[in-house]
């Protein structure tokens, strides 16, 4: 019977799974690791106990009267957690960094260039119109209210004899408006007893 070869015990090495708490205690944890480690600390009771032990060791080395039991410290944190749960989450504004990112450096010149291009584009279109292009002189650009009855689609076309613009719309709209005017002509809608009623033309909301 042959014995397996004897291997001397390996020299103690730092396991990252344990050493990050020591690194964090000394402020040497990589910043990009911190979010993940905070989650680990919250999820793993063993991590919290080790963090407490490390901090307690430091306190006791500096002053023995800082020695405290885990039960006491855990009760303190437990009570504080209940109070913190009622507090709004603090969020500090991100600090202004002196060195702007590449994206920030290019943002302003690009915006200016885009503005110039937009203005140039408008000028080119207007120039074409002035030269007898698609749009006539004095084109009316009327803003249509965002609310109110939408009877039919309407379009503005140039070159009308009156006002140099002509509104094209569904003929049924004109009929409807004509009938409406006739119905209301000369006499407002009256209620029994002589009270006046205003007529709201807006369509009811469903």
């Amino acid at each position: 019977m042959t014995l397996p070869p004897h291997h001397p015990p390996a020299a103690p090495t730092i396991s990252d799974a344990d050493a990050w708490l020591s690194d964090l205690a000394d402020g040497r944890l990589a910043p990009e690791e911190l979010a993940r480690r905070c989650t680990q600390w919250a999820d793993d009771p063993a991590c919290r106990r080790s963090w407490h032990a490390y901090q307690l060791i430091g306190d006791v080395l500096r002053s023995e009267d800082l020695a405290q039991t885990l039960a006491h410290d855990a009760a303190f944190l437990g009570d504080l957690r209940q109070r913190l749960a009622r507090e709004p989450v603090v969020l500090a504004p991100a600090p202004q960094t002196a060195q702007r990112s590449l994206r920030q450096v290019w943002a302003l010149p690009l915006a200016v260039a885009a503005g110039f291009m937009a203005v140039a584009g408008v000028l080119v279109v207007l120039q074409q119109v002035g030269d007898g292009g698609v749009a006539g002189e004095g084109q009316v650009l009327a803003a249509k209210p965002a609310t109110g009855p939408q009877f039919a689609s309407a379009a503005v076309v140039p070159g009308g004899a009156e006002g140099r613009a002509q509104m094209l719309r569904d003929a049924r709209v004109d009929e409807y408006l004509q009938m409406h005017r006739q119905a209301l002509a000369g006499s407002p809608v009256a209620l029994p007893g002589g009270a006046m009623r205003s007529v709201d033309l807006t369509m009811p909301l469903r």
Partner: protein
């Protein structure tokens, strides 16, 4: 990385809204804050209340902490002001005045007489604290010279890893390893004392 800068990572994380980072700072500083307030207020329940209020105020004010001073300096100032306000309120409220008597109001961290019990502090709790302190001291004595020197320079002298590296004439990676191994060795001795029912609340 000085001791004052060691909190910068966690403070920054709290400012981004991470409550867990604040809890880690609480675990780090709660004993020092309690002792500080215990110098000013004798009633242990009131010490707890004021310490909790101090941390709540610090949490609320965290967005205003610019890092001009170390975090613990800022926190101590909040704790002293909170204790002074509590004492002022107590003087105006004769019903509560009997339960807490003010001590020193200058916030000085002088040591408490070892035989002196605060109101509400049980002899059992005091004994357990002494056992913890004794276990830490025994564990330190049992460390190898390299580990003991590294953890002492870091925790007591407050030297940075770079400074310890110069003092001990070894690479920073070795300093990191020695400090971690020293902490683990001491923690191993502490764990039987710490793993009580209180640990269930963690």
């Amino acid at each position: 990385m000085s001791d004052a800068d060691a909190d910068a990572l966690l403070v920054d994380r709290v400012k981004r809204g991470d409550m867990r980072a604040f809890e880690m700072l609480v675990v780090k500083y709660q004993r020092r804050i309690e002792r500080l307030i215990g110098r000013m207020v004798r009633d242990s329940d009131l010490v707890q209340d004021i310490a909790q209020e101090s941390f709540i105020r610090a949490y609320r004010a965290m967005p205003n902490f610019r890092g001009d001073s170390a975090f613990y300096t800022w926190l101590y100032r909040i704790a002293v002001n909170t204790a002074k306000k509590a004492l002022s309120d107590l003087k105006r409220d004769p019903v509560l005045l009997h339960s807490a008597r003010p001590g020193a109001e200058d916030g000085d961290e002088t040591s408490r007489a070892e035989t002196e019990l605060s109101h509400g502090e049980t002899p059992e709790a005091l004994l357990a604290s002494k056992q913890i302190a004794a276990a830490v001291n025994e564990a330190i004595e049992a460390l190898s010279e390299d580990l003991r020197q590294a953890i002492t320079l870091r925790e007591i002298e407050g030297l940075s890893y770079e400074e310890i590296s110069e003092v001990m004439n070894c690479p920073i990676g070795t300093v990191r390893s020695r400090i971690f191994r020293a902490r683990e060795a001491i923690a191993d001795r502490l764990r039987p004392l710490l793993d009580t029912r209180g640990g269930e609340r963690w």
